[in-house]
């Protein structure tokens, strides 16, 4: 076991360096960032365009006289500043809507943090104008502070399931993205005719493990880069509290996300490596990998079908099948706080992974170095289960 691990690390180290120091990896890194960059640019452009649009209405809950003064002041400012001035509507605030209450001398603005951030200035201007109008001819009023209070409505299951769905998609996207890299890596190995050298020196399991570890390392490097960019993007563009907290809590949710990603990567990676071992060229590998990619997409669709209802039969089945389990369990973590189902799911995934690596390595071994005529399918499977 120690020898296998040692050998796997030697192979992983070489593969990791070769992968990360390649131009392809730079493209791999930039690839997923492009949608984010385009999104950010589009968002900024949209913000620019939105300068001319009216903002969401603010509920006005002040006493009638004060409210009338505020409405008048707003109308005056609207002539001059136009769409910079928010709409004011006299009614009770809807959930998540900002509300201007109190009195003209002791105003109070309640609402979501981002709304307070955006509206504080214009509302202050309206209030100052209203008080100035009221004191017409008298002493100009001293400015008063606008009391604000951030109100974050508690996330409901629907909001949380959105978090789960996003997490599922990220898992799918990442594993889908690297699958082709795994296959092409192995094909390159065969094309370089290095595989026989490796097979004579180390156990086949170690080659398998090494390649998986290397690609996992390369992908985690990518994840670190992407996560950093995403964090910067969220900090810059997403209002605080706009993303609902998962039921299991952010730290555990993110930790589980990482572990599930690793398991998902390894489980699918074994399949892709097994396929890669059968291919003799990049084109053949692509052809062979296509059904797997399709299967991966189907499994994702299946697992995300009941993301909002983790206790329904389909979601439970998806949670049990190791290749869909990480998707289903991430959705579960978003909605339900219990930790033990995750430990059970991870144990099942781990055991399946060990078996898959063993079988994959055997399939790899029976095909990758064979001379003579190509193997017939029945013999492949017979050999796979021999011993």
């Amino acid at each position: 076991m120690m020898r296998t691990l040692r050998s796997a690390l030697v192979i992983a180290r070489r593969d990791y360096i070769a992968t990360v120091w390649s131009k392809t990896f730079l493209i791999f890194l930039i690839g997923p960032l492009l949608p984010l960059i385009f999104g950010a640019v589009a968002s900024m452009l949209a913000d620019g365009g939105d300068q001319g649009k009216r903002r969401d209405a603010v509920a006005l809950t002040m006493p009638a006289d004060d409210a009338a003064a505020v409405m008048n002041a707003r109308a005056k400012l609207d002539d001059r500043l136009g769409d910079q001035i928010p709409l004011l509507e006299r009614h009770a605030p809807a959930p998540g809507q900002a509300a201007l209450g109190g009195t003209l001398d002791r105003p109070r603005l309640d609402g979501p943090p981002q709304a307070l951030h955006d509206l504080g200035g214009p509302i202050g201007l309206i209030l100052d104008t209203a008080r100035a109008d009221r004191a017409l001819g008298g002493t100009p009023p001293a400015p008063v502070d606008l009391n604000t209070a951030a109100i974050q409505p508690p996330p409901d299951d629907h909001d949380r399931s959105d978090v789960g769905k996003v997490a599922q998609f990220i898992l799918f996207f990442l594993t889908f993205l690297i699958a082709s890299m795994l296959v092409s890596n192995l094909v390159e190995e065969k094309a370089n005719k290095i595989i026989e050298l490796l097979a004579s020196a180390v156990p086949i399991d170690a080659i398998f493990l090494g390649k998986l570890i290397a690609m996992l390392g390369a992908t985690l490097t990518g994840v670190v880069v992407w996560a950093s960019c995403a964090a910067i993007g969220i900090e810059a563009f997403v209002p605080a509290g706009a993303i609902p907290t998962p039921a299991i809590g952010w730290p555990i949710f993110l930790g589980l996300g990482l572990v599930y990603f690793v398991m998902l990567f390894l489980l699918w990676g074994v399949l892709y490596l097994g396929v890669g071992a059968q291919a003799g060229s990049a084109r053949e590998a692509q052809t062979l990998a296509m059904p797997l990619s399709l299967g991966q997409a189907l499994v994702f669709t299946f697992a995300s079908a009941q993301a909002s209802h983790p206790d329904r039969p389909i979601a439970l089945i998806a949670a049990i099948i190791p290749w869909s389990s990480p998707f289903a369990m991430m959705a579960r973590a978003a909605i339900l706080p219990a930790l033990w189902p995750h430990l059970a799911a991870l144990a099942l995934q781990f055991v399946t992974l060990l078996i898959a690596i063993k079988l994959g390595a055997r399939l790899f071994r029976t095909n990758i170095l064979k001379t003579g005529r190509p193997a017939r399918q029945p013999n492949r499977f017979a050999r796979l289960f021999r011993r």
Partner: protein, 300 residues
């Protein structure tokens, strides 16, 4: 099984989809020797070596490498140069050699130090990407990677193929050096001259079976000497020539008859044919090889 043998095989057999690639091969390679496996293309040499090294398992039979039943147990003491040469084209020679050593348990740092020394000794660049090297240089780099961890057993599959005459000589010298330092060398080839110059023992394999095992001298003496005879005059004495005699440009060639050459010589002398050339030569290893493989019904 004896530990005086670096490699042992008893009846190892391998089938590929009904075709028998290797059929009951027995081998005994003494420790510290240079041993050649000779055979025509497709004879089963590579499959035999792969089974001995544990790259593939035999369907039946037993093998033992450096005393171990499982070849991977002693992989750190074995060096292997496959027939299909392969190196990572983006790597430089030093890293490639160190990597090959690391696969066999040599610490990477030590591997790099040894690689630098070996490359300097062979006038090879250490830092250029392998894709910029000539084929011969790349092959030499791979060979250095095969020996960087100082293995006790070096297995080379067709090591001379693709090398020019100068590099072949360098490789022969390197093999001799390794043998002098105590390593056992087992190599396969279909070029008999290398085996003749290097090997203490050989095995000739054809159609998956060992057809001969012994020293090159034993292979040669297993077959009768060849006779070359040229005379000034033809005549009735030619009736005394053996049945296999063939004449090309007045020169007769035939195997030395079992009852000797004296009856023929008597006929030539009595006919006063005038002997111009008479030579009795033991067969070369190449001729012995051709004869052995030909007897097996295979074209070398």
């Amino acid at each position: 099984m004896s530990e005086a043998l670096a490699v042992e095989a008893h009846g190892i057999t391998k089938h590929f989809d009904g075709a028998t690639a290797v059929d009951g091969v027995d081998l005994a390679v003494p420790s510290g020797s240079i041993y050649g496996i000779l055979g025509p293309n497709g004879a089963g040499k590579t499959t035999t070596l792969r089974m001995l090294l544990g790259i593939i398992d035999p369907d039946s039979g037993e093998r033992r490498l450096l005393g171990a039943a499982s070849p991977l147990e002693v992989a750190d003491r074995v060096g292997y140069l496959p027939e299909e040469r392969g190196l990572y084209s983006g790597m430089n020679p030093r890293d490639a050699i160190a990597f090959m050593g690391a696969l066999r348990g040599l610490p990477l740092k030590e591997g790099k130090a040894r690689a630098t020394k070996l490359l300097a000794e062979h006038d090879l660049p250490a830092d250029r990407p392998i894709r910029t090297l000539s084929k011969g240089m790349a092959q030499l780099v791979q060979l250095l990677g095969t020996i960087v961890h100082k293995p006790g057993l070096i297995v080379l599959d067709e090591p001379f193929s693709g090398l020019d005459a100068i590099n072949q000589e360098r490789l022969e010298a390197l093999i001799r050096d390794q043998a002098k330092s105590g390593a056992t060398i087992l190599f396969s080839t279909h070029v008999i001259a290398h085996a003749e110059r290097l090997c203490e023992r050989i095995a000739v394999i054809a159609r998956g079976k060992i057809r001969f095992e012994g020293t090159p001298e034993e292979a040669r003496t297993r077959f009768p000497s060849r006779v070359r005879l040229a005379t000034r005059h033809a005549g009735d004495w030619e009736k005394a020539l053996p049945a296999d005699a063939k004449c090309e440009s007045g020169l007769w060639r035939f195997r030395l008859p079992e009852d000797g050459i004296e009856p023929l010589l008597k006929a030539v002398i009595e006919a006063d044919a005038g002997i111009e050339t008479l030579a009795i030569e033991p067969p070369s290893l190449h001729e012995a090889f051709v004869a052995i493989v030909g007897d097996a019904g295979e074209r070398p």
